[in-house]
Amino acid sequence: MSNFLAVLHTYSETQFSEPGVFKSPNIDLQRKAIDSRLISLRGKLCGEIFSEFTTEPGYSLTTLITKSYNLDISGIIFFTIDSLRKLDSQIDLHFLNILWQKYPSISFLVESIYFSNTIEFSLVAEKIVAINSCIKRDRSNDWLDFVKKI
């Protein structure tokens, strides 16, 4: 059986800004989702990490994940890609790439994203580049000024 590392997400009270959904998934629900994914991957859990919403992923996850570097791990299962958001809401692509260099597969359950080869990773990375550029632009004062003018 393959070993997997799970990353659970600690939501803030107000963070789950899903229109029409008022409760963030709690840890028990997240564990159920991870268990279900493990069954389909025929894997078992070898460690659990909690990401914090108050810090950038580089700080909250790197130390914990590096502790697992000496283990034989087939992949990481994130509950959500939100665990890789920086404080400006962009996805930390650089950090994701570091993880990808180390682990053979990465899953994000809420977003139904999974990759285990270079082509799959590239498709996900390309989407992150495009969406990050929109997030950065949408939040900039220059953009807001521009929109007001037109």
């Binding site: 229109p19 650089h94 390309e126």
Partner: protein, 253 residues
């Protein structure tokens, strides 16, 4: 074409590829009948009278959920619908396209007591988004859906903003100006995410089976709905591919 869309915020458009739309209709019927264990007859008839298999609203709900899962797994709706209506959608959305991951399937048998409540998608969805409402049967009168055009959606939104407690006033705008859409099979209703829309109890003798799905340009401003959760990249232009590849190397090297 886009003149009408611009003024009204919606348009009923014919499929470029009716053959593939008919194939899709048959696939949906086949999956539905497989779930129900029913033999196939004429496709439009089979779909119009799907309700004859159910004794309660709960059975209808259970069936709709199963059918949604089955067809989402076996039919690539996002890509096919964009191709089927390409000559209309591409000038609106462009060539760098995000498509909703899983379409919403709506099954409204006659007298089914839970129609779609009045709402508009944007906000919270992006106001740079369109909805493609695609019926698998001829939809007319109460079997269809209603919407407020761009002008009256704006008036209704302003009324709510200025008179948040005046629901009767809002309902009057709706009663006076909402339009029930005639959308025959072979066409789709394409509308802007800022329009108020919904449905009423189906008083016709046939069922409505339709789906709705959303598209937006990859680079238009985002709404509150997370694009990673709700959208897949459907396609990008060669130029966009070059640009993203360039940025990717810059960021990862």
């Amino acid at each position: 074409m886009t003149e009408l869309f611009h003024s009204n915020g919606f348009e009923v458009v014919l499929a470029d590829d009716l053959k593939d739309l008919s194939t899709m209709q048959e696939q949906v019927r086949d999956i539905a009948h497989q779930l129900l264990g029913k033999p196939n007859t004429q496709v439009e008839h089979d779909l119009n009278y799907l309700h004859e298999s159910f004794a309660s609203a709960k059975e209808v709900d259970d069936f709709r959920l199963k059918l949604t899962t089955e067809i989402a797994e076996s039919i690539n709706f996002g890509q096919r619908i964009y191709k089927i209506f390409n000559s209309y959608l591409e000038p609106l959305v462009g060539v760098d396209v995000l498509a909703q991951k899983t379409p919403n399937l709506v099954f409204q048998p006659p007298e089914y007591p839970v129609p779609t409540e009045l709402h508009r998608d944007a906000p919270a969805n992006s106001p740079y988004e369109i909805i493609v409402w695609l019926p698998f049967v001829d939809c007319f009168r109460t079997k269809s859906m209603y919407l407020l055009n761009r002008k009256f959606s704006r008036i209704a939104a302003e009324h709510i903003r200025d008179n948040p407690k005046d629901r009767p006033g809002f309902d009057n705008i709706l009663l006076d100006h909402a339009e029930l859409m005639d959308v025959p099979f072979g066409s789709a209703l394409v509308f802007w995410s800022g329009l108020f829309h919904g449905s009423i109890v189906n008083k016709e003798k046939e069922s409505r089976l339709s789906l709705n799905t959303r598209y937006k340009n990859l680079f238009t401003p985002l709404g509150l709905k997370d694009p990673f959760r709700y959208f897949d990249v459907l396609k990008t232009s060669s130029l966009t591919k070059l640009g993203i590849d360039f940025e990717l190397k810059e960021q990862l090297d």
